[in-house]
Amino acid sequence: MSPPQALQVRGLRKRYADQEVVCGVDLEVAPGECFGLLGPNGAGKTTTLRLCLGLAYPDAGEIRLLGNEVPARAREARAQVGVVPQFDNLDPDFSVAENLMVYGRYFGLTSREIAPRIPLLLEFAGLAGRAESKIQALSGGMKRRLTLARALVNDPRVLFMDEPTTGLDPQARHLIWERLRRLTQEGRTLVLTTHFMEEAERLCGRVAIMDHGGIIAQGTPRELIARHIESQVVEAHGPGVEAWMADARSLASRTELAGETVFCYADNVEPVIASLRSRTELTYLHRPANLEDLFLKLTGRDLRD
């Protein structure tokens, strides 16, 4: 028998009014893994997380979270889970330390059990010395870190994070990433949604790309890029770039025009670069393909609202 998965989802479906927002999702997350659920806005990521936590009833499908059937035993499952929601909902009526204390009580922990954990959690969140601060006095990054600390108050085995770094500046984002890596090293399982491909590539051992309520690709970031996309990219823009694109078509295995920029994808981009060198009016950038290229290839370049 294989070891039980931290999270197991089969055939998950959820409909709101006349729209099916989750249509047949299958997922497996192994213990200790950092798993990323990627997708454009409205792809169904947040709904999938809510269903996994038992905060909404699925129309069809099975969910097992840490061996507990959800939603039937969602309470037992959530006792061993931490959640970082998409939008901070820290308690504005309380100080930093009180937020952790009050939240711990929702897990049935006593004040005596929570109190010694508070300094450790604040230390982890880079908020040591801020115990008495008001929530309103914290920066966006500090609030996010406190939300992360709050999600750890019950020493969870699994952490669910919905866009953990959206809206943060690079410094704050890097600090969160560093902390999340530390949590993975401690053996905790992380499930996060994001639309920052860089975040997914840095943190996640495995990712699933979700669009229109379904999973369209799943694997390690490297695997996915190798399987679905050419290894090199050249981006070119400048006057006459559209005319140049006609030449580029025969030089790259795939070309794409997005706005004023031409994207050329190929495993060998030397011919493309040679052609660009003679066109001094065009500016170009050569880089390896990344998860974002894959993401855009699979989900398209159209805006999502």
């Binding site: 709101y16 936590l53 905060l55 909404a56 009833y57 309470r75 037992e76 959530r78 006792a79 959640v83 929601p85 939008f87 909902n89 820290l90 308690d91 504005p92 009526d93 309380f94 009180e98 009050v102 939240y103 009580r105 929702y106 897990f107 049935g108 019950n154």
Partner: protein
């Protein structure tokens, strides 16, 4: 959510106490202004109306008008305190601050949250009721020990109006929504339920309306108890208040599930 789940009876756990404690901790920081408000507001009304009108009215139902009015106010102040908490405060926590959302990410259910809000709003009603009892006692109109039996009555009044308030909260689109409930339901109820004058003075149709309201049953219990008498039809009044509380909480649960647990 299917209908079986939507209409299932609420099954909160004892974890609701954690929600009650959260609200208590917030209240403790503002306890003194809150208690002063609970005392000052009815005091101003009581002295204005009780002594002012009382002087004009003279003897009233075999006692002073001040004592008559104070008993009515004990019920109505409780009603307003529980209502405010279950409307405006609960709405901020549910909709504006998203406190409820944070709580249900822990091993708490929506019903635990609602039960915590319910118990807390009733507690606020109780605090307001006790402040009134203190005023009546200091004024020398409370007949102990029976007057103490008004305390469980005030708890019931609080539970009834807190439950109704939470049901209204589940339908609210914004704070303005509550003025319909306050102005169109609670204010007329305050006028009809025997707070200011005996219900028997009303035309029979309005008497029947008055007798259907929870506040009426509260007043009918509180007034004799403060005067040291056992209320007539006490069980009926208790049952009516308990019925409003239970039905109101069930309604609040269903409406809140429909709103949040999609």
């Amino acid at each position: 959510m299917d209908n079986t789940r939507l209409y299932a009876p609420p099954a909160p756990s004892l974890r609701f106490i954690a929600v009650w404690r959260r609200h208590f901790l917030v209240w403790r920081k503002l306890a003194i202004p809150s208690i002063l408000g609970n005392l000052a507001d009815p005091l101003i009304m009581l002295f204005g109306l009780g002594y002012g009108l009382g002087a004009v009215l003279g003897e009233f139902g075999g006692g002073s008008y001040f004592a008559f009015l104070a008993a009515g106010f004990m019920a109505s102040t409780t009603m307003y305190a529980a209502t405010f908490e279950s409307l405006f405060s609960a709405f901020s926590r549910m909709h504006v601050q998203k406190t409820w959302e944070a709580i249900v990410n822990a091993p708490m259910t929506l019903e635990d949250v609602l039960a915590g809000e319910w118990a807390w709003a009733a507690t606020k009603g109780l605090a307001a009721g006790i402040c009134l009892l203190a005023i009546v006692a200091v004024a020398g109109y409370a007949h102990f020990p029976l007057a103490l039996a008004s305390i469980p009555v005030v708890i019931l009044i609080g539970l009834a109006f807190a439950a109704l308030g939470l049901a209204v909260n589940a339908l609210a689109t914004g704070y303005d929504f509550f003025s319909y409930y306050m102005t169109l339901l609670l204010t007329p109820m305050m006028m009809l339920s025997g707070v200011f004058f005996p219900v028997e003075r009303l035309p029979p149709v309005l008497q029947a309306v008055a007798q259907a309201t929870p506040l009426y049953h509260g007043v009918e219990l509180v007034r004799p108890l403060l005067a040291g008498a056992v209320p007539v039809h006490a069980l009926l009044h208790v049952a009516a208040l308990a019925g409003y509380a239970a039905a109101g909480f069930y309604l609040a649960t269903v409406l809140t599930r429909r709103r949040l647990f999609k």
